[in-house]
Amino acid sequence: MKIIEIKHLNFAYQREKVLTDISLTVRSGDFLGLIGQNGSGKSTLLKLLLGLLKPKSGEVLLFGQRVESFKDWSQIGYVAQKSNFSSNGFPVTVYEVLRMTGVATEEIERVLALSSLQSKKDRLLTELSGGQQQRVFIARALLNRPKLLILDEPTVGVDGNSQIKFYELLRKLNQEEQLTIILVSHEIDIIAREVSKVACINQSLVYHGHPKELLEDNLIEKLYGQHHRLIAHTH
């Protein structure tokens, strides 16, 4: 089943071209890594996927419907790079973050268990580590059982140990819950290890396929320039 279908998508800010002729399909159960250097158009593509920007030409279909007329946003869970709350300091508990979406208590308990956050539900969000905070926002995105989870650079500023737990959770969601995931990241080595498919963006779609082949070709150079090479993380 096609979850997302992008057809010949073009986008420009005034005269500055940002995305050129992007065509891409995401199928049910995919774990897609969307990579590219800063300014490559990753975030713009996400905004187009979520209907927050209008394309210059081309179209985006979500669950077979044009994004402009798509209404069932409960099918999609979204975790932003950095919650706008993070520096505010308002006392809000993990439970309250989930409750404000208006869902029933049983559903909140389900996602808390899924994200291993039961013991943290009465803690203040500001008392949690960066990794734990991101797990809270994943838990929120999982309310009402969405079919697609989109994460925008979710591990920026998150320590190594928390990152391990974070990717364990994503694997579990993808493999056990059959959740389709799109993970936007510039950490190419992690993407190559974790995901089942990779899409490399550099204004246009440079590569779309298995992460293994990405490492064999000279695509890293195409994306990041000649001075970049892959270094494996040890954790």
Partner: protein, 264 residues
């Protein structure tokens, strides 16, 4: 208590307590949204409403509500369409409101004691008609906050997240702005235009120091505002002080205590 022997003091307490409930309620959402300055801006616009009232010899609160609501809607439209940053929009409306007020006041033959009562508050001169209006509009505001509580909270906490969960955030923002405008107009009568934002913000930031959840912080902020109004009025009555200033100083004292207690 002697204070309750006077009908004007009972009216003052009724008006003050209603405002003490609504002002921090709205203030919580504004502080969370980092938009607390809008209260200050609208209080300057409210002065233009007072000037219209003085010029036309009508009850100023009607013109005040009308002008602040219109300005609030405009500010929200400008901010949501991202024509300019929200702070810049506020910086236009704040002096704009004051400038209109000054022009109209000069047309109404200059400053008089009535104007000063709106600038610095004159809760003890609140009329019965105003009491009904404050209580009526206060109750409507409370009902609306109760009905849209989750949407208001989610939108102020994380607007993008709320929009992607299907909440019509533009409408929720508009509702918050209209409620803010009405609250500013009502609060102005209690503490004065220059001190409106104090009652909307100080109890909230004090509650943030001691609250262990949003719900707790919400309740504490109302409790602190009620205490500030009650003891402020008490101080004003027994020591012959201006009520608005006394209320705000009590609120600041509560903030200081909450900061010390909250640190432990």
């Amino acid at each position: 208590m002697e204070i309750f022997a006077y009908s004007f003091m009972i009216r003052a307490l009724l008006a003050g307590l209603m405002v003490a409930i609504i002002a921090p309620l709205i203030g919580n959402f504004l502080v969370m949204k980092r938009f607390a300055m809008v209260a200050d801006t609208l209080s300057h616009v409210a002065l233009a409403g007072v000037a219209v009232g003085l010029l036309t010899a009508t009850q100023p609160i009607f013109a005040t509500i009308l002008l602040t609501v219109l300005s609030a809607i405009l500010i929200e439209k400008i901010a949501s369409k991202q024509k300019m940053p929200a702070e810049t929009a506020l910086a236009l409306f704040m002096p704009g409101g004051l400038a209109v007020a000054l022009l109209l006041i000069s047309l109404a033959n200059g400053f008089n004691s009535n104007l000063f009562s709106y600038l610095f508050g004159s809760i003890t001169t609140v009329s019965s008609q105003e009491i009904y209006l404050i209580i009526g509009l206060g109750l409507v505001s409370l009902l609306l906050i109760g009905k849209f509580y989750q949407q208001l909270l989610f939108t102020c906490f994380d607007e993008e997240g709320a929009r992607l969960k299907g909440i019509k955030t533009e409408r929720v923002n508009l509702l918050l702005m209209v409620l803010t405008a009405v609250t500013v107009s009502l609060t102005m009568r209690v503490v004065g235009a220059l001190l409106v934002s104090a009652l909307m913000v100080i109890p909230v930031v004090a509650a943030m120091r001691v609250g262990r959840s949003f719900k707790q912080s919400f309740v504490y902020s109302i409790l602190f505002a009620v205490l500030a109004v009650f003891f402020g009025l008490l101080g004003a009555f027994y020591f012959n002080l201006p009520a608005g200033g006394a209320i705000v100083l009590v609120a600041l004292l509560i903030f200081a205590v909450a900061s010390v207690v909250g640190r432990k």
